[in-house]
Amino acid sequence: MNQFSLQQGMSRELESFPHVKEFALTKNTTIQLDSFIPSRANCLLIYCIVDGKFEWIVNGRDYILYPGDIAFVLPGQEIGGSRGFLEIGTIYRLHIDIGVASANRALGPWSTLSPCESLSIEKMLLVNNLSVLLKVKEGIEILHQIHAELVNPEIGHVTRVNHFIDSLLIIIARQSTRQADPRRDFPRTFMKLEQALRRDLSHQWSVEEMAALFGLGTTSFTEKVKHHTGFSPLNYLINIRISEAIKLLKRHDVNFTNIALDTGFYSSQHFSTTFKKLTGYTPGQFRKRNLLNDNS
């Protein structure tokens, strides 16, 4: 296969795909100094090795990449050659503008992933914090297909290309979970989830998002969480929310609405009802009880 380079704004092939900034297959036959100096990405970059051996710094770590491996960086992360140049070999490059992530949609309107799925994928990539995936079987194949559709547009090619990009993202997310976690140690992976929940407690977590971190479906995930913790995933989350809320209630300086929103309740009303149901106290009564010297 010959090398090619499609650039947004220059190549007609990308006209219908404003989110694809660049798509290229590079066959590098000579080493040019400073041809690949580590730099910060401004969109999602996906590199797939077709041929050769590459030593890169990806997101702050050194890697050696071989054919089939995928390196990807999120906006703001760095990628480049360890010695500042691109080694001899063949690589695919795909730059995607994932736009501004919003609460209901992490990817642009081109994607057919549901808002929940794309949010889950984003969470998986962030939590796993893995930038290099080893031997991604389908990676090169999908990139070939994208190329074929782009250079030979037939009816439905816009949909097909976008589907392939979605597929690539799904495969990257799944593999990053498997690679980050050999799926043997449930308690350890659960601890990772626990940390993710606490880091982002105000987020309205769905069971799908949580299950994605384990690479499990929701049914199997819920069953395993129940077995491990005694709670359903959402009840476990409420548990953390109330525990954190209690700590805030015991400080003078935070008002109820802020406590409610910071700990992930929809409103202070929702917080108050849930809190009272469990503890028998309204948040106000609880704060009063604990701030008076209640050691009698």
């Binding site: 043997r184 491990h228 005694g230 548990n239 525990s243 503890t279 604990n290 010297n293 209640d294 050691n295």
Partner: protein, 507 residues
């Protein structure tokens, strides 16, 4: 119908069980909470999360299992894991997380005290080995390394004291848990002044000492309402997990011992007097007046086998460790006694009794070219059991043991129970209620209600189901392997130290 509820605030989870007044289990449930390791030696838990988890679990349990069957809860009896330490300020608000038994930050302080004449004296008067697990050592660490928190602390509590204060009022600590703090004189049943002086606190800053049958007061109105309980429900302070597991295992007479192996493990006996081990290897905890639970704890129980399974077992389905472990146990059962000469030291987490060496590490010894995977599997199981045996042998220097009860998820595996029977050359029984802590708490509450005249009578009602008899020829083989194990367990000390330094350098 009336019922008794037991609540165990354990290391990883709160476990709730309900018993009718005949001692039948009505239902059981649990809820886990996480342990945080902010630094390598730290092991902490969030007291608010423990409290809320307990409340949540209890509420669901009552609503789903107890109220629909029209049971009236007459008594709630508590137990908790030992050695936890929680600092609260003068408003009763926790200052940071609770520090668990597994926390090692006080290594230096422990070493220093243990090797001093005062250390030996304090071990004798308090019964608690001088070790980072001990709240005495933790408070000393705090006084030296976190002066501000130390000074602001109004009370140094255990998790259970905090939970009971939240539910009722007032800070109390039962004799059993107190006897695991290193601050408690186990013969006089009061705080030990020399220990207080050493840590630099006065008794005012510790909770009020109470017997295990004490009730800290009524459940607060708000909780009566949210839980749907009557104001007549009696809250019993109860005891520690170790003491109650011993009682619940029916080990109450001379000549008996109980081996518990969950993640970690212990061998325990009950006696009318305290064991004074010259090498400070054994603990003595108080259950009630003149009943002492003595024994030794290990860090390396079922958790070590689980580690092995996670690394080397075949996982057919993601996270399906139960299945993986079952298969490994099958493989191990096919291998003959002694794993064809392969010996394993299970000290992956350092070790407490009997070697008390935090820097000890795991070792496979004697690998030859014929060894296959299944020999390693069996060697790991045997190694964990050799460790239980070596604690048992230490205990036998002070107590006569003729029969054994085992409990805990790992020791109750038939292969493990058989190995224990063969090693000790003693009959081994397994209790009918797999949760002997809950069983013990029930017996305590039932005795308090007058259902049993005494703890002795209560302990005799414990039903033991399966019994394993020792096999003499296995015993002889095991003795020869154990002799190698025992020598190895202390012979590698210099190398353990050297390697510990290297491992500490790793990020």
């Amino acid at each position: 119908m009336e019922c008794i509820i037991t609540i165990d605030l354990g290391t990883n989870a709160v476990r709730v069980m309900a018993f009718d007044l005949k001692g039948n289990v009505i239902a059981a449930t649990k809820g886990t909470y996480p342990t945080f390791h902010l630094e390598a030696d730290y092991s902490e838990q969030d007291p608010e999360q423990i409290f809320i988890t307990m409340l949540y679990v209890l509420k669901n349990f009552l609503t789903e299992k107890i109220h629909p069957q029209n049971y009236v809860v007459v008594s709630i009896c508590f137990s908790a894991s030992m050695h936890s330490l929680l600092m609260v300020d003068k408003s009763g608000i926790p200052m940071g997380n609770a520090i668990t038994w597994a926390d090692n930050r006080g290594k230096k302080e422990a070493q220093e005290l243990k090797n001093s004449p005062l250390g030996k004296k304090l071990y004798e008067s308090t019964g608690t080995p001088i070790h980072p697990m001990s709240p005495l050592v933790k408070v000393t660490w705090l006084a030296r390394n976190d002066r501000e928190r130390f000074s602001k602390t109004h009370k140094f509590l255990s998790i259970k004291s905090y939970v009971l204060q939240q539910l009722t009022s007032g800070y109390v600590l039962d004799y059993s848990l107190a006897s695991a703090t290193g601050f408690f004189n186990i013969q006089k049943l009061q705080w030990e002044q020399e220990a207080l002086d050493y840590a630099g606190i006065d008794a005012e800053r510790l909770p009020e000492l109470v017997p295990v049958f004490h009730s800290p007061g009524k459940l607060r109105k708000e909780f009566q309402t949210s839980l749907g309980l009557r104001d007549t429900v009696k809250i019993l302070v109860g005891s520690s997990d170790g003491c109650l597991a011993t009682l619940g295992g029916g080990v109450w007479d001379e000549g008996k011992a109980i081996i518990t192996v969950e993640d970690s493990g212990a061998v325990r006996t009950v006696g009318r007097d305290v064991i004074r081990d010259a090498n400070q290897r054994l603990f003595n905890y108080v259950l009630t007046d003149n009943y002492y639970v003595s024994g030794g704890p290990t860090n390396n129980g079922g958790i070590i086998f689980e580690w092995y399974a996670k690394q080397f077992g075949d996982f057919r389905n993601p996270f399906d460790i139960e299945h993986t472990i079952q298969n490994l146990i099958h493989e191990a059962a096919e291998v003959s006694v002694g794993s064809q000469g392969l010996v394993f030291l299970p000290y992956l987490l350092g070790e407490r009794a009997p070697i008390w060496n935090a820097n000890a590490r795991g070792t496979f010894f004697g690998i030859n070219i014929k060894h296959e995977k299944q020999h390693f599997v069996r060697a790991v199981i045997e190694g964990i059991m050799y460790e239980m045996y070596s604690i048992g042998k230490t205990l036998q220097e002070h107590r006569t043991i003729n029969s054994l009860t085992v409990n805990g998820s790992f020791a109750s595996i038939p292969l493990c129970a058989k190995i224990i029977a063969d090693l000790f050359r003693m009959p081994v029984s397994i209790g009918k209620n797999p949760d002997s802590i809950a069983q013990g708490a029930y017996l305590l509450a039932a005795t308090d209600m007058g259902i049993f005249k005494s703890m002795d009578e209560a302990a005799r009602t414990v039903v033991l189901s399966t019994t394993y008899s020792p096999n003499l020829s296995h015993h002889r083989s095991y003795q020869r392997y154990f002799s190698v194990f025992e020598k190895l367990s202390t012979r590698l000390n210099a190398e353990f130290e050297e390697l510990a330094d290297l491992q500490h350098e790793q990020p």
